[in-house]
């Protein structure tokens, strides 16, 4: 393409190589026809345009409307008896509710959980890749990966694709040699360790509820109730959260799934006389 070269227009992959060295990101015009991207991980990018704004610009031509699954509230907090993880189960694509029973917690192994918020495809893909890397670590090093290392693997994956429009807010929760671990990782590459996090568009409502009810020396039942309330109240006020509360408890001997309660029944219990 002689004109392409003469005009001095740089291909998107070359521009990115100035930020990140080549070999870290495999961005191609189309995935290889013979190996179909099975040998090395390849991503196709639209030639000549900025990947993150591309889909939005296609969305008004001739009835084309490409919507991806989005939206959530998730929360997790550490307390005396481990880590509580609670998520909702709604997946929306634009204004349509694509699923009311989406699974937003990935069970990486018996001692590691990852939550998903933001774009469903991004979360599912990268956390599944994280689960693969954790398994390989276990096989190569003969001991389980630490929560800090697992969250770092995920945040490094995110940094590699920074600026390309990925959307992922995740919490990696686990129990390793250092005790209970909770890390927040997002699509910018942010990685924070903490005692309590909430992600997704309903997070502010969940923070309000959990902050006011939290005590370090809660009993297990009180902690379950706090997690349930946090998600329920967030789903009540946030349009893009709803469905059921899926709750997990990370203990020293691994995680257990605590409950799967419908939020519309829970909100009636909590707000007696309101409706």
């Amino acid at each position: 393409m002689a004109l392409f070269e003469v005009s001095g227009y740089k291909k998107y992959c070359e521009l990115r190589e100035q930020i990140l060295p080549a070999g870290l990101t495999h961005l191609v015009d189309r995935t290889n026809h013979y190996s179909f991207g099975t040998k090395t991980q390849e991503f196709a990018v639209p030639p000549g345009v900025d990947a993150s704004g591309f889909l939005k610009s296609c969305n008004h031509d001739g009835g084309v409307c490409i919507e991806m699954n989005h939206g959530t509230t998730t929360l997790a907090f550490k307390f005396k008896h481990g880590v509580i993880v609670a998520v909702d189960s709604r997946a929306s694509a634009g204004n349509y509710l694509d699923s009311t029973d989406a699974n937003k917690v990935i069970e990486i192994n018996a001692y590691l959980l990852g939550t998903m918020s933001g774009s469903a495809a991004d979360c599912q893909y990268w956390e599944r890749l994280l689960a693969k890397e954790c398994r390989l670590y276990r096989l190569r090093n003969n001991h389980r990966i630490s929560v800090a290392a697992a969250s770092k693997l995920l945040s490094n994956m995110m940094v590699g694709y920074r600026g390309m429009g990925l959307s992922m807010g995740s919490m990696i929760c686990g129990w390793d040699k250092q005790g209970p671990g909770l890390y927040y990782v997002d699509d910018n590459g942010t990685r924070l360790s903490g005692r309590m996090f909430s992600t997704g568009c309903g997070n502010s409502y969940a923070y309000g509820v959990v902050d006011s009810g939290y005590r370090e020396d809660m009993t297990v039942e009180e902690a379950y109730e706090l997690g349930r309330r946090g998600i329920t109240h967030a789903t009540h006020r946030d349009a893009y959260s709803g469905g059921v509360v899926n709750m997990y408890h990370m203990r020293e001997d691994g995680w257990i799934k605590v409950c799967q309660d419908d939020v519309s029944e829970l909100i009636h219990q909590y707000r007696k006389g309101m409706f």
């Binding site: 179909f36 390849e42 196709a44 084309v64 997946a91 699923s99």
Partner: protein, 237 residues
């Protein structure tokens, strides 16, 4: 300067009045319409689609079904942009053959679903404009339905509608198969014949109210005996 059109429904045509200078550029996508539906039963699965191929105000073909047979126990329904549907099914067929040659066995429905998720995600930044639903039997012989979004997020369902009339059909399926929003009703498990009849009725409703759905209905019923295809006429207007 970009046009100041509002966010429209899929297929909604542009208003023909002057809104200001508009930048036109080549769009790699088109919307070809069509609806797909899949239902999973105790020992069967059904994948059904209409056969209309449209673009804008025209109908390109009345005989373009959107169900594609992948293996003896799996059928995929693809709607959205027909060009991407064709390429995607070609890639899936090639990957199925590669798997068969390397592993000496056919891919199971669950494995095909997981593979499709990674194929779609490899185009995360330039997506296939296809809404996929896979229907088939799992390793235990039970019906399985997997639904996808255009970039590869997926989950296993009991029933799912996709494509242009999906927002109309999904609530009807929630009510009839999921028994949602009904009180005091016995949850009878769905038999194969009842499910096929329900699918036909549901598509007749879709053809009444969605312009992109109609002409004919192709139903593929997957059981351990094999895949049985049936074509039923729908409204042609």
């Amino acid at each position: 300067m970009l046009s100041s059109q509002h966010f429209g429904d899929p297929g909604k045509m542009k208003d023909y009045h002057y809104t200001g200078p508009v930048e036109h550029k080549f769009s790699p996508y088109a919307f070809n319409g069509g609806t797909v539906l899949a239902v999973a039963g105790e020992d069967f699965a059904i994948v059904a689609s209409d056969t209309r191929l449209s673009e804008g105000y025209s109908i390109h073909s009345r005989d373009s079904p959107k169900c594609y047979k992948l293996t003896d126990t799996t059928v995929i329904g693809c709607s959205g942009f027909h060009g991407d549907c064709l390429t995607l099914t070609k890639i899936i067929d090639a990957r199925l053959k590669m798997y068969k040659h390397s592993n000496n066995k056919t891919m199971t429905s669950g494995a095909i679903a997981a593979m499709l998720s990674t194929i779609l995600y490899s185009r995360r930044f330039f997506p296939y404009y296809v809404y996929n639903i896979i229907g088939g039997l799992d390793e235990e012989g039970k019906g399985a339905v997997y639904s996808f979004d255009p970039v590869g997020s997926y989950q296993r369902d009991t029933y799912k509608a996709g494509g242009s009339a999906s927002a109309m059909l999904q609530p009807l399926l929630d009510n009839q198969i999921g028994f949602k929003n009904m009180e005091g009703v016995e949850h009878v498990p769905l038999t194969k014949d009842k499910a096929v009849q329900l699918v036909k009725d549901v598509f007749i409703s879709a053809a009444e109210r969605d312009v992109y759905t109609g002409d004919a209905l192709r139903v593929c019923v997957i059981t351990k005996e094999g895949i049985n295809e049936e074509t039923i006429p729908l409204r042609k207007d």
